[in-house]
């Protein structure tokens, strides 16, 4: 038996060929992967690239295309300067930041508490409630804005950024709570029992054990809440008509399109500036985001 094991692998017929074919298979898998990734990257990145190129062109060049539109003949930053020096555009930016910060804070406070109690405190109906929270996420905002319009109107918050602070959590809280429930549930039960015996109450257990341990999940949920409220379009379109209360998403569209006059260069510049904060956030926190979304997938 041991003698057979000691013989070189070449002695076993067919083994060498099989290794070769494995290497070949792997090469084909890599080639296929690269081709599909390149195609995907082109499809995904072409629009933003086109936006960037357009934003660097003068209005004259945009309205009078000569040759390929993928080349900028007279690059200029005028579109950006025009926006940045415009107090109204700065107001849109400020409104977006205000609404997003408030929504993120509100969402995280609500969903961390909700998720902790749903994941750890056994109480009557906790299971049903946890499912219910997720189900509310499945109602699309394009449907929800009709009843919400009435509610926001009744509260006198139409045409106010505070109205947005009130309604965005209907989109963010359910999903963030769901992520956090999953994350908290992946924390071993013995950890809270150890804390309980060490003398912690529920609040200390949450702040001193759960939040630090679940930090990747919390960051993932925060990024989600940030993205949703930064990019929200339906609610502000429905609830805000006064320019000084508009966030970026609708501000850019409503103020830079006058009738049938499209300020294409500024539109593209504005959209790119608006997309900048999420890009920066993702670039720095991507690893946490992935770790948070895949929590509990593997035991580790």
């Amino acid at each position: 038996m041991s003698a057979t094991a000691a013989t070189p692998s070449a002695a076993i017929p067919g083994l060498g060929r099989r290794i070769g074919s494995l290497r070949k298979e792997r090469r084909w898998a890599l080639i296929t992967a690269y081709i599909s990734l390149i195609v995907a990257a082109i499809v995904m990145l072409a629009p933003p690239l086109y936006m960037l190129l357009t934003s660097l062109k003068t209005s004259a060049e945009i309205s009078n295309p000569v040759g390929t539109p993928w080349i900028v003949r007279n690059p200029t930053l005028d579109n950006y300067w025009a926006l940045i020096s415009d107090p109204m555009f700065r107001g849109f930016f400020f409104n977006s930041i205000k609404v997003t910060v408030c929504v993120v804070v509100l969402t995280m406070v609500i969903s961390v508490f909700a998720a902790f109690s749903l994941a750890r405190m056994k109480f009557f109906g906790s299971q049903v409630l946890a499912t219910g929270v997720f189900l509310t996420y499945l109602v699309p905002d394009t449907l929800l804005f009709i009843p919400l319009y009435q509610i926001v109107g009744a509260l006198g918050l139409l045409n106010s950024t505070w109205g947005l602070v009130l309604v965005y959590p209907t989109l963010t809280v359910p999903f963030c709570t769901w992520i956090m429930i999953g994350y908290f549930a992946s924390i071993p039960k013995e950890l809270d029992e150890a804390a309980l015996i060490d003398g912690a109450n529920w609040m200390q257990m949450l702040t001193k054990i759960f939040i630090p341990v679940a930090l990747p999940g919390i960051i993932a949920a925060t990024i989600f809440a940030f993205t949703v409220s930064w990019a929200a379009f339906v609610y502000p379109t429905a609830f805000i008509t006064r320019p000084d209360e508009m966030p970026l998403t609708i501000g850019v569209v409503s103020q830079l399109i006058r009738g049938d006059t499209f300020a294409w260069g500024q539109l593209m510049a504005g959209a790119l500036l608006a997309a900048l904060p999420p890009v920066i956030v993702y670039a720095f926190l991507m690893d946490y985001y992935i770790a948070g979304l895949t929590a509990g997938a593997t035991k580790g």
Binding site: P188, L191, A194, A195, I197, D198, G199
Partner: protein, 367 residues
Amino acid sequence: MAQVKLNRIVKEYEGGVQAVKGIDLDIADHEFVVLVGPSGCGKSTTLRMIAGLEEISKGEILIGGNVVNDIPPRDRDIAMVFQNYALYPHMSVYDNMAFGLMLRKFPKEEIRRRVENAARILDIGMLLDRKPKALSGGQRQRVAMGRAIVRDPKVFLFDEPLSNLDAKLRVQMRTEIKKVHQTVKTTTVYVTHDQVEAMTLADRVVVMNHGVIEQVGPPTELYHKPATKFVAGFIGSPAMNFIPAKLANGGAALNIVLPGGISLPVPEARAKRYAGHAGKEVLFGIRPEHLTEVRPNDHRPNLAHLKLTPEVVEPMGMETLAHIWLEGAEVVARIDPSVPAEPGRALPLAADMGQMHLIDPQTDRVI
């Protein structure tokens, strides 16, 4: 430090399943008590009720003379070591050990003194700045014990603390736990499914099965005088042999007749105890270590000789185990490795009848 008293403790889950069926137990101050039994016997549930992690359905638990049924875990003055260590992953070893004291608002210098003292006892002084993920299994277990020691609680609770360690480390940590108990002398309740751990660590062993206590006693008592078939089979490794037999009344003396017609004499000293069962079916119990090769100049009284044919022979190094099948009943004999034993060849054996047990198959109690 304190005594622990369990009064008719019952744990009933929804749907009426009883995990613990009314057990009584008195644990003295400084005592090391081990709850042992197969999985699902209720030992962990009992421990968790003492800790306050499970509600008590019926009965009372007293720690230091006070009923603690409605007292939350943090106010019971207990410390617990978990099977998977349950260290806080985001805290250093120092903070893990200091956490309980910090929550109790101990002064900083006192915390430092206690943590350093515990670290010295457990020899983990050089690990205090590390995070749990940078520790080996044995080191984590030490930190978990350190977290318990620094609190200086009335009672230590251990829930299968060595189950996640490899065999070699388990033996080492077992000694470590015994050493710690000899140093700090805190009343300890220790749960394990491993009878070797129970035997080596305990002042008293509590054998549990199906939610009831089968027997309580010092390890040697459980080994030599088991009260039930379960205890007889659970304590000792390899397990005791049980052979269906008949207690025959052969004139003045009693004989045990094994399958295959083998007849073994009952020692005179036992005759009176077994007299009531003469002529009845019994289970003959004998430990493998009391069924050995025939030794020259063997002066043990009450030796009975018999010849059996092993079917499997397992050399273990310090001993050899011979497996014999007696009409369906497996019998293991523990023989000296120098004795030539081969499967299929009859082996002369000596049974130490002074160490035998008879079990009533109706009640499963040792007669």
